[in-house]
């Protein structure tokens, strides 16, 4: 004898995100989960951090003068030459960077949409956060600021659209002409500070997303993030100030 189960209204678990759509393709299946998208964010973040560090390191040549800096800029086009044809490695890196940016931004957007769905009605009284710091809570905004700054930076020093004195190939003169203008320097500082705040959380958070966690080195994860920001973003800000004050210039 079975007793009919009568379900009270609202007694069932609600439908929020819908079931996981599995795929026989390993990577697509992984991508369709939120944990998988966090892996994508972390891995693309590692690649982009490597770029930010290499970009900072290359720019140190500006302290060695015009010849060294222009040779570095031109040398990027002939990386691995003569094994690879002229310019190929640079384009391969550019395509890789664009792919990583796309993966980072698309997964961030999809996860944000998922998180909005997960709390359609927000708390009606003020929240009292204990652990969530400013950097963690502003990731979406600092990310958008960095993306806009990046477009400006490309328009300024790669394409020369917003730099009236732009001369193709004269990397050092273009850089100095651009950053000697106070409002341009301010844009560069704002963009870099936003990136620094973004990385202060991101460069720690990526370890957690990829399950890199052990009592033996957990303390070093946040120290790494802070150190990376101080060294890389700090140096980027030094570049801007050095040019603005005429320390680096013709």
């Amino acid at each position: 004898m079975t007793q009919a189960m009568e379900r009270r209204e609202g007694a069932d678990a609600p439908d929020v995100n819908g079931p996981h759509r599995s795929s026989s393709n390993l990577l697509i299946d992984f991508w369709r989960s939120a944990v998988g998208k966090k892996w994508v964010m972390a891995l693309s973040g590692v690649g982009l951090m490597g770029f930010v560090f290499a970009h900072m390191f290359g720019n140190l040549k500006m302290f060695m003068g015009r010849t060294a800096f222009d040779a570095y800029a031109e040398g990027l086009r002939s990386l691995l030459y003569p094994i690879m044809p002229h310019g190929w490695v640079l384009w391969a890196m550019r395509i890789g960077l664009i792919a990583m940016f796309a993966a980072h931004i698309v997964s961030a957007a999809q996860l944000t949409a998922m998180n909005r769905r997960a709390r359609p009605i927000r708390y009606q009284s003020p929240r009292d956060y204990i652990a969530a710091n400013f950097a963690a809570r502003t990731m979406r905004w600092t990310g958008i600021i960095v993306a806009l700054y990046l477009l400006y930076h490309l328009a300024d020093l790669t394409w020369g659209w917003v730099n009236p004195d732009f001369v193709h190939g004269a990397a050092y003169d273009n850089l100095v002409a651009s950053l000697s203008v106070p409002y341009v320097a301010a844009i560069y500082l704002v963009g870099n500070i936003a990136l620094g705040i973004h990385l202060f959380h991101g460069a720690w958070s990526m370890f957690q997303s990829m399950g890199i966690n052990s009592p033996r080195y957990n303390g070093a994860r946040k120290a790494f993030a802070a150190g990376f920001v101080v060294v890389t973003i700090g140096m980027n800000c030094v570049f801007v100030v050095a040019i603005l004050t005429g320390f680096v210039g013709s």
Binding site: E9, S33, K38, S125, P126, A136, G211
Partner: protein, 286 residues
């Protein structure tokens, strides 16, 4: 309806037996006059609002006892009492839980709402009480939410398969002390939902990772380790948001469960996608 004059309060007038009991040890308990803002919502699909109440309560009362006094008063006046979830009232069942002044389970670390005492508050305080807010936890009434989504997650893989029969010999399977300690820390989860409530994304990763890892850490949990992780993570994602490593959940957790378990879950989930494929050497079926 909202205002409770101090003289009418059961804690001061001694009108009810429970009320007198709380007021009796007044020799060493201070009385607190409190203003409450409590979320009132008649049912799942109706609009709710904050309602103001005042009460006087001894500072050795628990938070839920304080709500009991308010409710006795409401019942006496013929009003609808405030609905809130509670059961054991000793911090082990995970039934109670509300947002108190914007913090899950209130201002005291490592305790559920029932173990929070009024001595944590001061005379004249205004206390705001709100239910957990998450799409995965729809409000049933007032401060009561439906946590059936947690049951769905556990059903998806929160078990091990054993042969029934005679009880196995004790200590038959060696378990490293560290593994058993860590598994016990994960198993401390009482499923109250504070992690979801505290998370700015309404993610349930702390709950799910605790439920996964208290089995994954032990030898008995190895056979189903990767199918469990895959199924429980994907069921979790049907109902809740995603983790952005804020760390709010481990601060709110009444059992102080660590977000280390979330990292372990993330690692095992990635492995599960490889491990749950056909194993090496296995003949193709069909």
């Amino acid at each position: 309806m909202n205002d409770t004059p101090g003289t009418d309060s059961p804690t001061t007038s001694g009108a009810g037996s429970t009320g007198t009991a709380a007021a009796a040890p007044a020799s060493h308990a201070n009385m607190l006059n409190l203003k409450l803002k409590v979320w009132r919502q008649a049912g799942p699909d109706v609009h709710g609002h904050f309602e103001d109440y005042t009460t006087t309560v001894a500072d050795d009362a628990s938070f839920l006892e304080m709500l009991d006094y308010v409710n006795e008063d409401l019942i006496r006046k013929g009003d609808e009492p405030i609905s809130f979830d509670h059961d054991c009232r000793e911090g082990i069942c995970g039934t109670c839980g509300v947002m108190i002044d914007g913090q899950a389970h209130g201002p005291q670390k490592g305790t559920a709402t029932c173990q929070l005492h009024m001595r944590k508050f001061n005379d004249g305080d205004e206390i705001t009480i709100e239910p957990w807010r998450a799409a995965g936890f729809p409000i049933i009434k007032d401060l009561v939410v439906n946590r059936a989504a947690f049951d769905r997650i556990v059903e998806a893989g929160g078990y091990i398969t054993v042969n029934t029969g005679a009880a196995p010999d004790a200590n038959e399977i060696p378990v490293p002390k560290e593994a058993s300690d860590s598994a016990m820390d994960a198993a401390a989860c009482i499923g109250c939902g504070a992690c979801v409530a505290a998370c700015p994304n309404s993610a349930a990763n702390l709950f799910t990772s605790a439920k996964i890892n208290h089995l994954n850490l032990l030898p008995q949990g190895q056979a189903e380790r990767y199918t469990r992780t895959e199924a429980m993570v994907e069921t979790m994602e049907e109902y809740f948001g995603s983790c952005t490593n804020y760390g709010e959940c481990q601060e709110a957790c009444p059992k102080e469960i660590s977000i280390d378990f979330i990292a372990m879950m993330n690692r095992d989930y990635a492995k599960s996608k490889l491990m749950n494929l056909r194993r090496l050497g296995q003949k193709k079926i069909g």
